[in-house]
Assembly symmetry: C2
Homo-oligomer: 148 residues x 2
């Protein structure tokens, strides 16, 4: 599968999103990146644009947050994938998988903040590649951690 | 606070996202919408574009999923807000709140699928307004439900 960004020949209304920062990570290689954060992802820095400084001001070490990223190396025209890239498994619709390859390649990453240094926020583990654009940061809610 | 969409006079790279569907809900009024799903949000239908039909094919009633929406009535130049709109509380940076008003107004909604009918998926409770664009749907992971 080609990994350059494709435009989806589809769809309804379009909206513009902005990178508010970037991931700085030792993960630079798509092939060696873990598929999920609990599979050996390293700690990483979130480095924000100066324009969003005010939005960061209440973040503290110990906070559990959801980092929302733009998976800019994903394939946007994938609608089915082999789960976890395992071709021995039947293809599934991408909305039942966490594959990065999907119409809007938005990544969700639950992390704990370890350090805040101005525009730089260190988090405990992140499976996103170095340079991945950051779109948003939200605190977790009890709703997010409701047990199945 | 004005609720029309503003463009942020800011930021790094820009990307284009597409509505892959819309929320159909009895919630039509911003003022009466609950702030979180556990505060009385009604069930809702997610109505998808025909072009993403294949991506839906493994969704089943009982699945716990995260709906990612575009909060198209939010104010994008908000960097601080009074938590829960309560002006008696001091303003906080938006990245420490779940306010819809933020540079990229992306909504995360954890829901349970109750019914799947072709391109229409009914979910148990959703605090998004009628007509809200849908960007993505992902299964929850154990990682999402890790207890604090």
């Amino acid at each position: 599968m080609e990994l350059a960004e494709h435009s989806l020949a589809v769809v309804g209304a379009k909206f513009e999103i902005h990178a508010i920062g970037r991931v700085h990570s030792s993960l630079t290689d798509l092939e060696s990146a873990p598929r999920q954060a609990d599979e050996g992802a390293p700690e990483a820095w979130l480095v924000f644009e100066p324009e969003v400084n005010e939005a960061l001001r209440n973040l503290r070490p110990g906070d559990d947050v959801i980092v929302i990223t733009w998976l800019d190396r994903a394939c946007r025209d994938a609608l089915s994938v082999h789960p976890r890239g395992d071709v021995s498994r039947p293809q599934e619709g991408v909305f039942s998988t966490r594959s990065p390859h999907r119409p809007n390649p938005i990544g969700l990453h639950r992390v704990k903040i370890e350090d805040v240094d101005g525009l730089r926020v260190r988090v405990d583990h992140l499976e996103a590649l170095d340079g991945t654009p950051i779109l948003d940061l939200k605190p977790t809610l009890d709703e997010d951690v409701r047990k199945r």
